[in-house]
């Protein structure tokens, strides 16, 4: 179990990652925030003896995905939130806003591997373990996601 100080350090270090994974899952900041709270609560209550930062980071990524799955199949989300009603973060440049919109327009099965691979730096095998997919499936999805993103951005 983490001490209060260790928990605060973990939150400072990994809260953004947890939030971005949840946002990639739901696209909707409100659902993402709910998932973050539940994930961090599970961390705070966890009895796990973490063997270093990588273990903790992997634990959080895995728990975030589990929490998102749980929320998605519960009555939490009574109404489907249309894409256009999802508030976007404020970006410093229009190109980032366009890219964000293009990423969020991708299906979740592409968004999550894309984020975990290109931003968090997990290997295809690790992404596969996190998402319950074969590494080859992850590679295929990454290739398709890149293609769709390119197409979407060129059309704009």
């Amino acid at each position: 179990m983490l001490t209060e100080q260790e928990f605060h350090r973990a939150a400072e270090q990994y809260l953004s990652m947890v939030y971005r994974i949840a946002l990639n899952y739901f696209r909707n900041p409100q659902d993402a925030e709910d998932a973050v709270q539940e994930t961090m609560l599970r961390l705070w209550q966890a009895q796990t003896d973490f063997q270093g930062d990588n273990h903790l980071r992997y634990f959080l990524a895995r728990v975030t995905l589990n929490v998102c799955h749980d929320f998605a199949r519960s009555p939490w989300r009574k109404h489907t939130v249309p894409l256009e009603s999802c508030r976007e973060p404020a970006f410093s440049a229009p190109e980032y806003r366009e890219l964000y919109a293009a990423v969020m327009a991708l299906p979740a099965k592409y968004r999550l591997p894309l984020y975990l691979y290109y931003y968090e730096g997990y290997s295809a095998g690790e992404v596969g373990e996190l998402l319950g997919l074969k590494a080859s499936t992850v590679q295929t999805r990454l290739a398709r996601a890149r293609g769709k993103l390119k197409q979407e951005l060129e059309e704009d």
């Binding site: 809260l15 947890v18 409100q30 009555p75 939490w76 249309p82 931003y119 993103l149």
Partner: protein, 340 residues
């Protein structure tokens, strides 16, 4: 592309409010998993065997009244007064409806009803493997209300959360369910007679400390329907228009915005703001009582209140139902708004 992708996501960050809430978790959340002394745990285990229930975390009160009194004491540091208790009693009704499947009975013991929220106390008994230090829940739970109180056709939501699951002080496996629904300030769960149907699938063991999937203890579908009678939440206060500090959590800028049609009830605070102010979220609100006690909001949601999307409205629920005859002021950030 890869670099642009990384720089773009560098700018996607959780709001400061979320960061603060997570940092404050350490002072709030472990309180709920307190354990009984070993002697009491043995007593609870014996009771559980006799009752055919399972042992998990122990110690929450076995009634909604007791639960709210405990929450009140933990958050204000003082015991809940008589008027507050009377309000809880007014809003809480015994139910006693149950369903038995595969040797497990689920009973809706009682319900506390507010404008946009329900607290349901479930009691579960039957024969299934018992294990210490784990929580219990259902793999899936759904709550429907007929007629549907949500009369606005804009994206909105309802949520279910489980503030407590375990063996309560009465020795019975207990699940506290909190249901809230954003009704766009237009209807109330108490404005007419309705039927609530609670459907639960598969009783599971939830070990929140491990990544393992939930373990199914009993398969089955339990369905319980019970009536919600019309009623009122006691004193309701309305404020036509107030100016409050607000923050854009993405840019961290602050400003002052106008909230309209502000309505305070025993269970929630709802208000509307112009659609163009949607990005501005009012600073955290606290209800201040005559004796100086402060009641925080517990959860909330926002949606458009009209199909023309001109009004952006929010509902914030109080941590426990509050007797508003004792309310002295609302405080948003550092701005205090007297209520009398």
């Amino acid at each position: 592309m890869e670099q642009r992708f990384q720089k773009m996501f560098d700018e996607v960050r959780p709001s400061r409010r979320l960061q603060e809430e997570v940092m404050n978790m350490t002072t709030r959340e472990r309180k709920r998993t307190r354990r009984l002394p070993k002697k009491a745990l043995i007593a609870a285990a014996i009771l559980a065997v006799l009752a055919g229930t399972a042992v998990a975390t122990v110690g929450a009160p076995g009634t909604l009244r007791g639960w709210f009194a405990q929450e009140w004491e933990e958050s204000t540091g003082s015991a809940m007064g008589e008027k507050q208790l009377a309000l809880i009693d007014q809003l809480t009704k015994p139910v006693g409806a149950s369903d038995t499947q595969n040797g497990v009975s689920v009973t809706v013991d009682s319900v506390t009803v507010g404008n946009s929220a329900l607290w349901l106390l479930l009691k579960i008994s039957g024969e299934y493997p018992a294990q210490e230090d784990v929580g219990y829940n259902f793999r899936r739970m759904e709550l429907t209300i007929d007629p549907d109180p949500d009369e606005v056709d804009t994206p909105g939501g309802a949520s279910l959360s489980y503030p407590y699951s375990g063996v309560a002080e009465d020795g019975r496996l207990t699940l506290l369910v909190h249901y809230s629904m954003d009704l766009a300030g237009q209807t109330s769960l108490l404005d007419k007679a309705r039927q609530v149907t609670l459907t639960m699938e598969d009783l599971v063991q939830k070990d929140r400390t491990k990544l393992d999937d939930d373990k199914t203890l009993k398969e089955g579908t339990w369905s319980i329907t019970f009536p919600l009678e019309p009623g009122d939440t006691g004193t309701v206060l309305t404020l036509e228009e107030i100016q409050v500090p607000a923050r854009n959590w993405d840019t961290q800028e602050t400003t002052v915005i106008t909230l309209r049609d502000v309505q305070l009830s025993a269970t929630d605070l709802c208000f509307a703001q112009d659609a163009e102010d949607q990005a501005w979220e009012p600073e955290k609100c606290v209800l201040i009582l005559d004796n100086g006690n402060e009641v925080n909001w517990f959860s909330g949601s926002s949606r458009f209140w009209d199909e023309g999307e001109t009004l952006w409205g929010s509902v914030w629920q109080w941590q426990v139902p509050v007797d508003l005859s004792q309310a002295a002021a609302l405080r948003f950030g550092d701005v205090e708004i007297p209520l009398r």
